[in-house]
Subunit: 191 residues, 4 copies
Amino acid sequence: MKIEVEDKESNSHGNRLAVMLIDVQESLLAGIKNKNKLLDALNILIQSTNFFNLPLFVTEQVPNKLGPTAQSLVAELSNIQSIAKSSFSIFGCAEIREKLFNKKISHLILSGIETPICIYLSAIDALKAGLEVTILSDCIGARRTDDESIALSKLQHAGCHILPLESFLYGYMGSAEHPSFREISKLIRNR
Amino acid sequence: MKIEVEDKESNSHGNRLAVMLIDVQESLLAGIKNKNKLLDALNILIQSTNFFNLPLFVTEQVPNKLGPTAQSLVAELSNIQSIAKSSFSIFGCAEIREKLFNKKISHLILSGIETPICIYLSAIDALKAGLEVTILSDCIGARRTDDESIALSKLQHAGCHILPLESFLYGYMGSAEHPSFREISKLIRNR
Amino acid sequence: MKIEVEDKESNSHGNRLAVMLIDVQESLLAGIKNKNKLLDALNILIQSTNFFNLPLFVTEQVPNKLGPTAQSLVAELSNIQSIAKSSFSIFGCAEIREKLFNKKISHLILSGIETPICIYLSAIDALKAGLEVTILSDCIGARRTDDESIALSKLQHAGCHILPLESFLYGYMGSAEHPSFREISKLIRNR
Amino acid sequence: MKIEVEDKESNSHGNRLAVMLIDVQESLLAGIKNKNKLLDALNILIQSTNFFNLPLFVTEQVPNKLGPTAQSLVAELSNIQSIAKSSFSIFGCAEIREKLFNKKISHLILSGIETPICIYLSAIDALKAGLEVTILSDCIGARRTDDESIALSKLQHAGCHILPLESFLYGYMGSAEHPSFREISKLIRNR
C-alpha cells in the first residue's frame, strides 16, 4: 500500500517499481483540463524518477498520427526510447509486456493521459496481471473532469492505490535523511 | 471489471453484454438536470451500440400515461420495440426478465433515468440475479443531483461498475485498430 | 440492500423495518444547515411512514433541557409518544432497545440530527447489534456540512446503506401499482 | 469502529487510545489551507484530551531546522515533551515506537500536518503494526487540498476510520451524563 523500497532495484518484499508515462502527446494534451499543472507535476515526477534511479517507461499512442511526447517533457527524457502502441491499454502492446516481465516489475506507478481511457484500461489490466498499481492523482489528466473522478473512484474500488505525487515521493524517501531529500524538497517548494 | 468483449455475441469469458435504455420519456426528462448533455451522451451510446452490434433494450415507464421515449432519440431507435413496464426496477417486468434470460445476457450496461429510482432499483436487482452491472455515469440523469451522487456511491459499494461512457467505448474497442474506431472517435470529438 | 418489503409487517426474508426520527428538536435544529429542506423531507418521510403503516420511533435528546420535537413535525406525529434519552446513541437507551427487540425490528431507517453525532453513533451501534441500517441522506442534518459528509462516508464503509428518501420510497412500493403510489407521487411532485 | 472507551486507561475490549499531534510547527503551518480553523480544532482536541485524561504525544519534524510546535498550541501543551523525528512516518522514530509499545496503545487518534505526507505515512505504518487508526478530518491539514482528499480516501480504503472531531468527542463521552459533557459542549458551542 505504502510505497516502500529499501534499495533501488527491489525492496525487502521483492517489490520492483516502474514509473509509466502514458501518451503525453501534444495533440492529446490539447483538450486536457489544467494541462499546465499536469505538465509541472510530470516534470517533477520525471526528475524524481531520475534522482531515485527508477525505471521509467514512456508510451505514445499511434505516434505517426498523433505525434511525439510533449516538447516540455522531452528534455528530461533525453535518453529514453518511447514505445509506440495502438492499443489503449499498455498491456495490449507486446513490447511493453515483455519489458515489464524482463525487468520483473511488480508495482506500476501510472501517470499520463487520459484517465478514463488509457490510464483506466492499463490499470485494470495491470491488476489482472497481478501487479500492484499506484496512480498519481496529480500526474494524470482528462478532457472531462467528471469522467476522471468517476474513473478514479472505480480504480480505487478495483484495488489501485490512488495517491498524490507527494505521498509517493515522501513515502519512497522515508526520511529527511534520504540522499535525494534536498533535491526533491526544492522541486516541490513552489507548487 | 473492464469491459472486454472479443466477439460481438460473447467473449472468451462467456460474457454477453446488453445495453439498457431506461425510461427516457419526455415527461420524465422535463425535470432532469443537464438533460441536453444527457441526450447527447445517449445519442452517442445508441449509435455506438449500433456500430458494435450489441443488443439494446428500451424500457418505458407506464407509457400510456407518461408518453413514449424522447423524440430526439427515436430516430436512432427506429427498429427497436420499446417495452412497457409499471415496476420501477426493470426486473419487476416479466417480459424484460425473459428477454435477458433468452439472450443469455450476463452483463448489463445501464443508462437512462432516474438514477436514484429506476436505475438504482434495476441495478440492485440485476446484481441479485447474478448479472454484472455497469452504469454509465454520463448516460444517466436525475432531478436531484445530490440524490444521484448518493445513489451512485451506494451502487458502487454494492458491486456495480460505475464508468463514464468513454471508458466503456474505448474498453470495448481495445485498440485504435478496431473497425469502429474512426466512427466512435468522430462521435466523441466535439463533446 | 434494496428496501424490499412484501407485506407491511415483515417481508419474505423476515425483514422488519422501523423508521427512527432522532432528536429533531428546535434548539438542535437552530444551527443545522438547510434546515427547511430537511424539515420538508422529514414531513414527506413521516407521511409516507403513515401510508406504509410502518413503525415509527421518535427520540428526543434530554427534552427537559432541549425541548420537544420541532413544531412543524408534531402535527403528523400526533399519536406517537416520543422517547427521552441522554445517551447520544439511541442504543444507550434501554427503552428504545426493548421496543426494537419486542417488535423484532431487523432493519432501521434512520433520520434526524446530527449526522456526525447521534446518527453516526446510533448507526454504528445498530450494526454491532446485527441490524441492517439505512440512512436517508436528505432526511439527516448537521451544523457542519463537511463533518456530515465525512461521517456518511465512514458509515457507508462500515456497512450502512446510504440512500436518498426517494430511493427508499420507490423501492418500498416497487411499482406504480402500489396502493400508495398516487399519494407518494403527490408528496414528491414539488420538491 | 466507533470510539468506545469505558474507563480512562483501557476499555472492555482492551482498547487503549493515544492522541498523536504530528508536526504542527509554524514553518510547516505557513502554507496550510484554512490553518486558523485547523488550529482552533487542535485547541479543542488538546483540551478535550486533557479532560479525558488520554495520553497525548507531540512530534516535531527536524525541529532544529523547522522550529517548535506552533505557539498558539504550546500553552495547552505545557507539560508535554515533544519528540523530534526525521522520518516522515512517526513509526520511523524508535522513541515513538517504544512509547506506544510501553503504554500498550492499540488505537491511535491522528491529528496534525500534512495529510498526504506525515499523516498518510504514519497511518499506513500504524495499520501495518496492527493498530486501529482514527484520523480526525478537521484536525489535519495540507498545503494542497486536492492531495488531502485523495490521501484521505486512500486511508479510508486502507482501513482507517476517518471521522470529524465531534464524532470522536461525543462517541468517547457516550452520553450527556459524562462528567466532561459541560466542558466539551462549551468548547464546541461557537464553532
